[in-house]
Amino acid sequence: MNDIADGLSQAVNLIVTLNPDVMQIAALSLYISLSATILAALIAIPAGGFIHFHEFYGKRALMILIQTLYSVPTVVVGLVLYLLISKAGPLGFLGLLFTPAGMILGQTVLIIPIMMGLVISALGGVDRNISDTLVSLGATNFQKIVEIIKEARFAILSAVVLGFGRAIAEVGVAMMVGGNIDTQTRVLTTAITLETGMGKFGFSIALGILLLTVALVVVVVLNLITSGISPDSPWMRGGPQG
């Protein structure tokens, strides 16, 4: 009981005083996960769009594969990436192991499937009549695709938010690819693991609170953006109401 009470008061102290160690870890976490989210979105949105708008052999199998990868364990991604970018690995020459860049790569790979899958269902959620309507209004194929992606913007945004959530909360990739090196690759989750192991509960709790706060801020900001776009429309919805 003491541990918890002590830890909590210590945590509040660390946060209120803007403890440089804590802040540095939080900032690095945010940098890595946001970068990974942006990269993944840049890949997942066009790729999801391509899959949605084209019919090809093996499309269903691909969808099943993508959905399976939603639940790929972070340590498995960490392991595969470790093997690829470690010195002896085929991508070893890039020198990405134990660097923030390597961690960004790892988290990007980790969240692409879930983002892509949700983008595909977001686009699928746009009423088929919308597509016909756009064509009948004289849209070229490209104009049609752009408008449908715009129409699904809220659902796509929630796919991006979910990707960010998975990135900032994961431990496996950060630990195995990043190596949890102090001031270099130590992020919120890996720091919590380490400090808890060393019995420094106050530090861990402070980091835990920060982790949730970061998530809260990101979600609130995205909320504001979306509700700013449409004050009276159903939030996070792909298409118009039936």
Partner: protein, 366 residues
């Protein structure tokens, strides 16, 4: 304007549109009527070049629309389409209306000039900044019409535009369609399963059944001279089968149905079998005791009422006079005549109101 030749569209092994040939004239309102699932939507979509026909061709002002994808786009841009279920995008009403202009690469200046005009046309001028998904069904449909009309199309296609609307919104859309046709000279092609609506609006009507165009004509022809039993039933006429022409003098024929003789106008020769079609509105009912030679109506059939079917302000009275005859009278007349099931009554119908077709033992004979 639009010439359709042997158009067929199949999905898998099911042919939704079969061998339809049709010519739509510039400036007319052409309605396609037919029961649900008869292929009307498929036909309209093919005309708007949204789908590619399995076989057959569509010519737009003489141009073969199947020439290339680019030709299809350019021709599609000369048409406007309004779907049965209005789909609006989740942006403002004005932005919804602007899409067609945007796609055609019009300047922002042009767009700001034309969009309010189009909204004014449909009476939604003050809705410009509203978000489209918050509108009612009728309002959305008007946005859809404004969106189609803003590009000043040569042809406006409407697929059951009032099917999901209340009567008031429905009337408003109908008025709008007629106004667009009269004011802008826009050729209008509209599908509907509401035959009364089809009749009200159309210059010409095409009847589609089971994917086939079974009759084309002006509303009078379709409603009074249906080309077959199934069409007759669709436009509200029950066929009377089993007639035999027993005499014909210069087109004035005597036809026997069971034990009863009817006079009708037809070219069928003595001995030929005939099907008779009588619109229920054309049948008059008089009390049995008041009958006699007073009426100018030649065909007078005493009979018994077997059924009364209320339908809005009217009552459909089914009379058994050797054959089954339906009469449509107002509710008030029904009360005044004290009609009930079992009442004996005299049904009258003018010879000119009976439409006669040869009976080929084929109820769908065309």
């Amino acid at each position: 304007m639009i010439r359709i030749e042997h158009l067929t569209k199949a999905f898998g092994s099911k042919e939704l549109v079969k061998e339809i040939s049709l010519e739509i004239r510039k400036g007319e309102i052409f309605t396609v009527i037919g029961p649900s699932g008869s292929g009307k939507t498929t036909l309209i979509r093919l005309i708007d070049l949204l789908d590619i026909p399995t076989s057959g061709k569509i010519f737009f002002d003489g141009t073969d629309t199947s020439a290339s994808e680019n030709t299809r786009l350019l021709i599609r841009r000369r048409m406007g389409m309004v779907f049965q279920k209005p789909a609006v995008l989740n942006v403002t009403v004005a932005e919804n209306v602007a899409f067609g202009l945007k796609f055609r690469g019009m300047s922002q200046q042009e767009i700001t000039r034309k969009v309010p005009e189009a909204l004014d046309l449909v009476g939604l001028f003050h809705f410009a900044d509203r978000r489209a998904p918050t509108l009612s069904g009728g309002e959305m449909q008007r946005v859809a019409i404004a969106r189609a009309m803003v590009t000043e199309p040569d042809v406006l296609l409407l697929d059951e535009p009032t099917a999901n609307l209340d009567p008031v919104s429905s009337d408003m859309i109908e008025d709008l369609i007629v106004r667009i046709n009269r004011e802008f000279g826009t050729t209008i092609i509209m599908s509907t399963h509401d035959m009364i609506q089809g009749q009200r609006l159309a210059d010409r009507i095409g009847v589609v059944m089971n994917g086939r165009l079974v009759q084309t004509g002006n509303p009078g022809e379709i409603f009074y001279q249906p080309a077959g039993g199934e069409i007759a039933r669709f436009v509200g006429i029950d066929a009377i089968h089993g007639g035999i022409v027993t005499g014909n003098q210069g087109g004035h024929a005597l036809i026997r149905v069971g034990e009863t003789f009817l006079e009708a106008l037809t070219d069928l020769k003595t001995g030929q079998r005939a099907v008779l079609f009588i619109r229920p509105e054309e049948v008059s009912l008089t009390p049995a005791d008041a009958s006699g030679g007073k009426s100018s109506v030649r065909n007078q059939f005493p009979g018994r009422i077997t059924k009364l079917v209320p339908s809005g302000p009217f009552v459909r009275v089914i009379v058994d006079c050797g054959f089954v005859l339906a009469a449509l009278i107002t509710r008030r007349s029904c009360t005044e005549l004290e009609l009930t099931v079992g009442t004996t009554i005299v049904a009258g119908v003018k010879a000119t109101a009976i439409h006669v077709l040869p009976d080929r033992d084929d109820r769908t004979a065309v």
